[in-house]
Symmetry: C2
C-alpha cells in the first residue's frame, strides 16, 4: 500500500506495554489531511500537527501513549516539535512533514529520555522487513491504546485500491471521553481537496456522533494519509463512501469498548424541524446521566428521555412526543402507552427512537452508552 | 405567621410514608409568586399552578409525593385541576387560588382514590389546633420528600416579620436531578412585584446555580406566599436580601443531600469576560462527568477541569488559565504547578477556582457534587 509501520516500548506507560509507534508514507504521493479536537485547550501535538498538515502533505506520523503532552506550556510545544524533528532526521524529510499524536495523562511533561530512546527504536524498526506486514499495523494499533481493552482496526477494499485504519480511544473528535487518535491510510490516488472533504464528511457523521459522556479531549486527532501507490483514482463519491464505511466501523468499535460500557445505546431523533435540530436533541438525550443510568439498570424509564429532550433548545411539540425502545412504542403524545414499563431492554443493545412531533422530517442518530459503576470506577480510581 | 400546614399518608408512596401536605395562607393578604422549570415538558401541576398564580394570589398549596403527574396528557391536567378544586371546596375559595405541586414517578396517572382520601384527611388536619405549630411545618417538609434523606427547612427573622421555608429535592429550578419543590411563606407585607422580583433574584443565584447532573425536572416549582400578618413592610432590598439568605440555605441543604453525594464541590470561575460567561464556564465544569469522577476519587486532576472548560463557548486565554483546588494553585498559565498532584482534596468539601485569564472581572459560582457509585446505584436500581 505504500505504507510501513513499527512500534516499540519506550517506557512512557507505567504498565510497561508498547507505547510508541510510527507510520510512514512511502509514496509516491504524500497527501495528508486531518480533523482535530474543537476544545479550546489544544494539546501541544495538536498545535504542531495541525500546523504541519496545513499544506496537505505529510511523510510520517509518530504516536505515543501514556502522556498526552497537554497543558504543558512552551516546553510541551518544544517537545512535540523535537519529536517531529527527530523522526524527520532519519526519514530525511522536512520536520514539517511529520505529524505527532499523543494520548495519556494531561499536565505532565513528556519523559523525553524515554521518547528519544523510543524514536531510536522506531528508526531501526521502520527499516525492518516486518514494517510492511499486517502484523506491524496491528502492533501499532496496540501501541496507541490507553484505557482501550482491544486494538481497533478497519479496512476497505475497492477495485485495485484499499483503505486501512487504526484508532484508539473510546471517544470522538468532539466530544470525547478519552482522547481519540485515528490514522487512516489509503493507496488510492486522491487530491488534497477530495481527501479533506471525504474526511470531514465521514467524521461528522461517525466520530462526531459518538458521544460517551459529553467530554472533549484536548488531543483528539484523525489523520488520513494517501500514498497513491495503487495508481487507481476512485471517484470522489466512491472514495467518500468507502471512507465513511471505515470510520463508521471504527466508531462502532469505540462505542463497544467505551469506558465502563455495558450497553450500546443508539438514539435516533425524528420529526424534528431539521437535521441539525434532530442532532442537538439526540445529543442532549445521549448526554443525560439519568437516562444513561436507566439504561444501565435496563429500566425502560421513558419519562427520563422526555425530561431530557425537553431541555434541548429545539422546536418540539411538548404534547406530541413519541418514544420507542427497541421498536416498542412506550410513549405516544407525551404520555404512557399501556405496558410501557414492561418493555425488555436487558440486552446489550438498546435502540431509542424519539419523534419530536413537529411534523417535519429532520432526523439524526447518535451512539452513546450507559452510565455504569465501571465508568465511575475507571474514572475515579486513577489519574488518566 | 398567618399560615397553617398539615400532612397525611395517602398511600401514593410505596414506602407507606407521609406523602401529601397542605399549606394554607390565612391572610390578611394572599400574595403569591412562583418560578417554574424551564423544561419544555412541563408536568400537569406546573401547568395548572403557573396559570393559577399568574394573578399574583393564592390561598393554598397542596403537595403530593410519589407521583409527579408528569407526561400524563389531558387526564393529568384534569387530575391536577380536581386536586385544586377539592381543596378549594373546603377552604371556601376559588379553585384558581389553589396551587398544586407533585413529585415522584413520571408517566403514571395519579392514583386519584388515594389522592381524594388524602385531601379529605388534609381538610380535617388543617382545622386542628396543631396546624399552626412548627411541628406541622416539619411534618409537611417530610411529606414532600422523595429520595431526600432529610427534611429541609430554613427561616429568617426580621424586625417584627419572618420568613419560613421548606424544600424537597436535590435539584434546582433549572437544571435539576430530581424535582425541586419549594414553598416559602412570610408574614411580611410585600406587594406582588416586590415578591416576584425578590424570588426571581434569589432563585437565579441560589437554586439556579445548584447543578447536580445537568438534568432538569418536569416539575420544578418554587412558590413564595405572603400573608402580611405581621403588618410590617420591610424595604424591597431588605426583603430581597432575607429571601436570598433563605434560598441560599435551602440550596446548600439540597447540595448536601444530593443523590449519591460524597463531596460538596464549589466551582468558582473568575477572570471571565463578564458574569454570564463565567456562569456558562462554571456550569460546564460542574457538569463534566470526568471532573466529577475525579472529585469522587479525591484526585486533583486539574487537566480534566481544563479539558472541561475548554468546551465552554466563552472567551478565555487557552494558554493563560489558572486553577486552584482548596486554595492551592495547581495550574498556572494552563500548565502544571510543582506539586499539583499532591494537593489534598480528600475532605467532604472541595473548592475549585478557575481563572479564565481574559483580564476582565466576570465571575460566578455554582455548587455541584461528585459522581459516585451511589449516584449510579440510586438512578439505575429503581424507577423514580
Amino acid at each position: 500500500m505504500g505504507f510501513r509501520a513499527t512500534s516499540t516500548t519506550a517506557g512512557i506507560k507505567e504498565s510497561g506495554k508498547p507505547d510508541m509507534c510510527l507510520v510512514v508514507n512511502d509514496g509516491p504521493h504524500d497527501v495528508a489531511v486531518g480533523v482535530f479536537t474543537r476544545n479550546k485547550i489544544r494539546a501541544a501535538p495538536v498545535e504542531v500537527t495541525s500546523a504541519n498538515i496545513s499544506d496537505g502533505h505529510l511523510r510520517a506520523v509518530v504516536f505515543n501513549a501514556g502522556n498526552a503532552n497537554a497543558c504543558t506550556g512552551e516546553q510541551g510545544i518544544k517537545d512535540a516539535r523535537d519529536m517531529a524533528s527527530d523522526v524527520s532526521s532519519f526519514l530525511h524529510c522536512d520536520a514539517h512533514d511529520v505529524a505527532v499524536c499523543s494520548t495519556g495523562i494531561i499536565g505532565d511533561h513528556l519523559p523525553m529520555e524515554c521518547v528519544n530512546a523510543g524514536i531510536d527504536a522506531l528508526s531501526r524498526g521502520i527499516d525492518s522487513t516486518n514494517a510492511s506486514s499486517d502484523d506491524a499495523g496491528t502492533a501499532a494499533a496496540e501501541a496507541i491504546m490507553t484505557t482501550d481493552t482491544v486494538p481497533k482496526q478497519a479496512g476497505y477494499a475497492g477495485e485495485g485500491w484499499r483503505i486501512g485504519a487504526m484508532v484508539k480511544g473510546v471517544g470522538m473528535i468532539s466530544p470525547s471521553l478519552a482522547t481519540m487518535l485515528c490514522c487512516i491510510t489509503t493507496d488510492a490516488v486522491v487530491d488534497v481537496d477530495t481527501a479533506r472533504d471525504a474526511l470531514r464528511g465521514a467524521a461528522s457523521t461517525t466520530f462526531d456522533r459518538l458521544d460517551i459522556d459529553g467530554s472533549t479531549s484536548t488531543n483528539d486527532t484523525a489523520l488520513l494519509l494517501s500514498s497513491g501507490a495503487s495508481g487507481v483514482s476512485p471517484s470522489p463519491d466512491e472514495f467518500a463512501h468507502a471512507l465513511h464505511q471505515v470510520c463508521n466501523d471504527l466508531a462502532s468499535q469505540m462505542q463497544s469498548d467505551a469506558e465502563g460500557v455495558t450497553k450500546r445505546v443508539s438514539i435516533k431523533v425524528i420529526g424534528a424541524a431539521n437535521d441539525s435540530e434532530a442532532l442537538v436533541a439526540a445529543r442532549t438525550i445521549g448526554r443525560d446521566n439519568l437516562t444513561k443510568c436507566a439504561m444501565f439498570g435496563s429500566d425502560p424509564n421513558w419519562g427520563r428521555v422526555l425530561a431530557a429532550v425537553g431541555i434541548a433548545d429545539v422546536e418540539m411539540d411538548p404534547h406530541g412526543i413519541s418514544v420507542s425502545f427497541n421498536d416498542h412504542v412506550v410513549c405516544r403524545n407525551s404520555a404512557a402507552v399501556e405496558g410501557s414499563r414492561d418493555v425488555d431492554i436487558s440486552g446489550p443493545d438498546i435502540s431509542v427512537v424519539v419523534d419530536l412531533g413537529t411534523g417535519s422530517q429532520g432526523e439524526a442518530t447518535v451512539r452513546t452508552t450507559d452510565l455504569s459503576f465501571s465508568y465511575v470506577e475507571i474514572n475515579s480510581a486513577y489519574t488518566t
